[in-house]
């Protein structure tokens, strides 16, 4: 089998699975779940074979695969693969996390009445996500970009009789469309600026010194703002937690929301060639999101909402890392200064480790929710460390990874970002450091409330561990959350990306280490001491002002948008509708019909009922017709 064929197989297997489920297995949920999980296994196997088999292909890398999809005039849209180290890393993440989530879903969704629809949706998602990863041109990315939006919509809306789920799915899709508005314009602009939308050709043109208007990368970035839920389009992600928890793990934590960062890394040459304002905008939006979401996370009482805001915050970290850009680096052996695309390296490195530990925590929360009979309020949990030991251990690994415990995956990737910020931009470094303190704070708060102390509800009393299909993925992801920070496990196969990560040396190394340790200890110890394992929020009791303030901060965007939609957009639409009905339909047309009525009166006058008059009219008509035909008129 040629490598291109394996890639094609990896792409199309989930599509086939979705088609089979939609056509034949609508009512056979169990069979559907098996088909879909097998497809995910094929994807995982395919993606790892490709990545660790060492083959890379696409324009510049040899053996490009592309076929023309549509041609209208000069516009040609093609389907093609660009499988470089970046795509290989992303595809591996999608494959591994995807398989874990599928297996976990077998247990979690075991009793669901619409299992076939759920697994069909997962398969569509896998197909669309792989499409984004492999795509070699912007049109193709956009197409699959919209399709992941569709699968996200379908899966958020899984419990579709719940009003909140119906609203959340709609909100997610529409908010993403707002981002795509800019994305599509950016692609069109790109098409006209370069005459191509092929990623490799754009890269060549940018590095060859073509002047790139800042508008192009910034418009393309709009797409990432929507998909990766950055300020101000972040509002859909917390609501998206209405979907089943494994979906949140796969789509709304590990892969789809990270697609925005992946896309940015794909078009990095454009940013490099554009004025600095483009990258700076990205950096500030990322840093702002990171801090804002971390503040919001502190007051959440729903276990999934805490994780959702944490995801937002971490995505902001990655976007900020990308925006921090390149760095001059003294090469260890050759002692020459090289320019590293450290932004890409750090963002992708953090994306990778985050995918592991955040998927782990989401699945862990799924295990908790499943164990507590669908209780999601952390104040009604407590003491689960004894009831669910395996979940407790793996979840703890996840928490330690995200707060940056030395030796775990998150420690390395977070330090890479902090170091880059320290070198390139001090204010951003401060923001990200504060965010890191907050991260440790809210994560340990949640961890303590869920697992420590005594049980605080009947559901928590009867909590139990799920079956093997639910614990196995936790173990795998737990292992990756530990090992993911060590370059050795990647076997040098993703050097194109991971060698771009800037590592601190000497004094900088010590500074970063101290900062990162201090951050973790301050945040974690603060939360451990401050929060009591009780049924109420300690912050709300002790500092109600701060608690209320944070809640207002959290609600500010939603209420502003709510106001706009209900009071501005809807009223304007109703006004236009009124004008349409009254002015055009009523006055003008009725007025027109009055004119027509006059014609009618005149015509009636001609209809005298006198046969002779009719004969004359007929003759006149015949003469005119004849004159017309003879061409004299």
């Amino acid at each position: 089998m040629s490598v291109q064929f394996i890639a094609l197989l990896t792409l199309l297997t989930p599509l086939a699975s979705a088609a089979i489920i939609a056509l034949f297995l609508r009512k056979q949920g169990t069979l559907a779940s098996i088909v879909s999980t097998l497809a995910a296994a094929v994807v995982a196997a395919g993606s790892l074979t490709l990545a660790f088999g060492g083959s890379r292909f696409g324009a510049d890398l040899g053996a490009p695969v592309a076929i023309e999809w549509l041609k209208l005039g000069d516009l040609s849209i093609s389907l093609g693969f660009l499988y470089n180290d970046l795509a290989a890393l992303m595809l591996s993440i999608v494959g591994v996390v995807g398989l874990c989530v599928h297996v976990f879903s077998l247990g979690y969704m075991h009793d669901d009445s619409a299992k076939a629809r759920y697994f069909g949706g997962l398969s569509i998602f896998m197909f669309s996500m792989i499409g984004i990863v492999l795509a070699d041109n912007l049109f193709m990315i956009f197409i699959f970009w919209e399709l992941v939006g569709l699968s996200s919509y379908l899966l958020i809306n899984h419990y579709c009789l719940k009003q909140s789920a119906a609203d959340a799915s709609k909100k997610a899709f529409i908010t993403n469309r707002v981002g795509d508005f800019g994305f599509l314009l950016g692609i069109i602009l790109c098409y006209y600026a370069f005459g191509t939308v092929n990623l490799v050709e754009i890269g060549h043109a940018s590095t060859a010194g073509t002047v790139v208007a800042a508008a192009i990368p910034l418009l393309l970035f709009c797409g990432a703002v929507g998909k990766s839920a950055q300020l101000p389009l972040h509002v859909w992600l917390p609501d998206a937690m209405e979907g089943p928890t494994p979906v949140s793990a796969l789509i709304h934590a590990a892969t789809m929301v990270a697609a925005g960062i992946f896309m940015l890394c794909r078009i990095e040459p454009l940013f490099a060639a554009a004025p600095a304002v483009a990258l700076q905008t990205v950096m500030w939006i990322g840093a702002g999101t990171a801090l804002y979401a971390a503040l919001c996370a502190i007051t959440q009482s729903d276990i999934k909402k805490v994780l959702a805001y944490s995801t937002l915050s971490q995505l902001g970290y990655m976007v900020a890392a990308f925006g921090l850009g390149s760095i001059e680096h003294l090469h260890d052996e050759t002692k020459t200064v090289v320019i590293l695309s450290a932004g890409v390296g750090a963002a992708m490195f953090h994306l990778t480790t985050h995918a592991f530990f955040k998927a782990l925590m989401f699945l862990g929360s799924g295990s908790v929710i499943h164990g507590c009979h669908h209780e999601q309020d952390i104040f009604k949990m407590g003491g689960l460390s004894k009831k669910m030991p395996l979940t407790f251990i793996t979840f703890t690994i996840g928490v330690l990874a995200i707060i940056g415990m030395p030796g775990l995956a998150g420690f390395f990737s977070k330090d890479a970002i902090l170091y880059l910020a320290m070198e390139n931009n001090t204010p951003v470094f401060v923001i990200l450091t504060v965010t890191a303190v907050l991260t440790a704070f809210y994560m340990v708060r949640m961890w303590k409330l869920v697992f420590l102390g005594g049980t605080r509800s009947e559901d928590a009393d009867h909590a139990h561990e799920g079956g093997a299909s639910m614990t196995l993925p936790l173990l795998v992801l737990g292992l990756l959350s530990v090992a993911g920070g060590y370059e050795a496990i990647y076997g040098g196969h993703f050097d194109g990306v991971l060698k771009q990560v800037a590592h601190p040396h000497g004094a900088a190394h010590v500074t970063i280490l101290i900062v990162s340790l201090a951050v973790m200890i301050v945040g974690a110890a603060g939360a451990l001491l401050f929060y009591k394992s009780g049924p109420a929020d300690s912050l709300q009791q002790k500092v109600p002002g701060a608690f209320a303030g944070l809640n207002v901060l959290k609600a500010s965007f939603d209420s502003a948008y709510g106001y706009y939609v209900a009071k501005v957009q809807q009223r304007f639409a109703l006004l236009l509708n009124f004008l349409d009905q009254i002015l055009i339909a009523g006055l003008i047309v009725r007025g027109l019909s009055g004119v027509v009525g006059l014609f009618g009166l005149a015509a009636r006058a001609l209809h005298t009922g006198n046969l002779h008059v009719y004969v004359y009219w007929f003759l006149a008509g015949a003469v005119i017709l004849w004159a017309l035909a003879a061409g004299t008129l």
């Binding site: 009789l161 009003q163 529409i174 069109i188």
Partner: protein, 511 residues
Amino acid sequence: MNPLPFDPLLVSIVAPLLAAGLLAIGLPAKLGKAVAAVGFVLPALLALHCWFYFDATGADYAYLTGYDTGLGYFGINLMLGLNGISMPLYLMAGIVGLAAGLYALQSKAERQPLYLGLLLVMQAGLMGVFSSVDVFFFYFFHELALIPTFIMVGIWGGRDRGYAAMKMTIYLTVGAMLSLLGLIALYFKSGADNFTIIELQRAVLANGLSETVQSNIFALLLFGFGILVSLWPFHTWAPLGYSEAPSSAAMLHSGVLKKFGLYGLIQIALPLLPEGFAKWVCLFAALAVFGNLIVIGLVTIAQSDLKKMVGYSSVMHMGYAFLGLACYSAVGIGGVVMMMVAHGLSAALLFLLSTSIHHRTKTFEMSDMGGLVKHAPVLAAFFVAATFASIGLPGLANFWGELAIFVAAWDFSPALTVVSVSGVVISAIYGLRSAAKVFFGSESEAFAKVAAEQKPADLTCCEKLPALILLVALLAIGLWPKTISGPVTAAAEATFANAPAAAVDTAALSR
């Protein structure tokens, strides 16, 4: 080439007419239905056949056949043929006609034989519109399809049918009259020997038309055809007419017949009157973008009646089509043709499903629905798919046309492109809102009462079949647009690639 022993185009027109005639004589109910079914199936099969064996290059016509009508003295001959632009529309007419026919066959309309008969006449007209090379018959077939529409709205329409039928009649007759005037004027001014498009083209190229003449004739055609395509502000007949029309008539009119105007502009007005086009392009592009896309887009958001919402959204989408025409390039025009085909399929599907929803909820008022997915999951799946098609999701046909139009529009006017791309957000808002209101969330009180009286069933097989035909067509083009794009781009390139660039003066807009 055509391996059939007869002319598929002629048969596709005559067969439904014949079936209608048989129904008019009066047949036993069962036999009548069978005859009608043949009348609907045959054109669709012949259209598929013509698509499969289509082998014309450039803007040439395939299956070109002339018939003497005895009116040769007036330059009127029945000449049938398909070029790269008409073939996809002809195919779409066949498919939508089949779906509308099958849906009508399962409906329990009163006086069903008459209903089916009128629908068959409409179908014959539609097949004729897109296969006529002769401008006279092009117009004649349009009228042939239009008149049954009025009658059907008048007899089987909803509450306001009288007003709706009259409004539709006045508007569409005025539109048709204006365009007829334009066509006749074109014929005389060009000095052509007969009414075929081919001859008109030859004559215009040979004789040339002055700018004033071009401008005046173009105005007649633009506004005449524009009314028929519901160009803002001449659109108000459409939402009202469609919301009152019986489902199959709405499917055929909004899906297929409405495209007559755009088709006329593409095949006749634009290529023959480039200078006239240049005079008017800024006006109609602005009307289309601000009027159809933005104003009507927002008005669509305000609708609470499902069928009106679908009707308005159909008006909105015509804005994209006019914007594509304004580009005057192979990409733009090709995009418009792709969009016309896709919109025909998706609009028909939405009207079909709206009626099926009405059968279950007994209302079109969306606030009186909710939670229908519990009773009718398959219907919900179809509706969601149709909604996503109409809002331009990749993988379904409508995406390609919209994308091509956006790309082409940037060349025409970046400002208008930016405004028009915001349409993708607007259509997502009303599309997903309606899906959520009808199917998802909690049941409204009104619907709970209706559901308690008579438990709503899921889509029946007879309803599913026509919906499936349309959805498969949408998917086929969506996944593999080359099913139709090859001939389209060939014809569009031949006609529009070498457009006189100077003729299109867009400076006024960018200023």
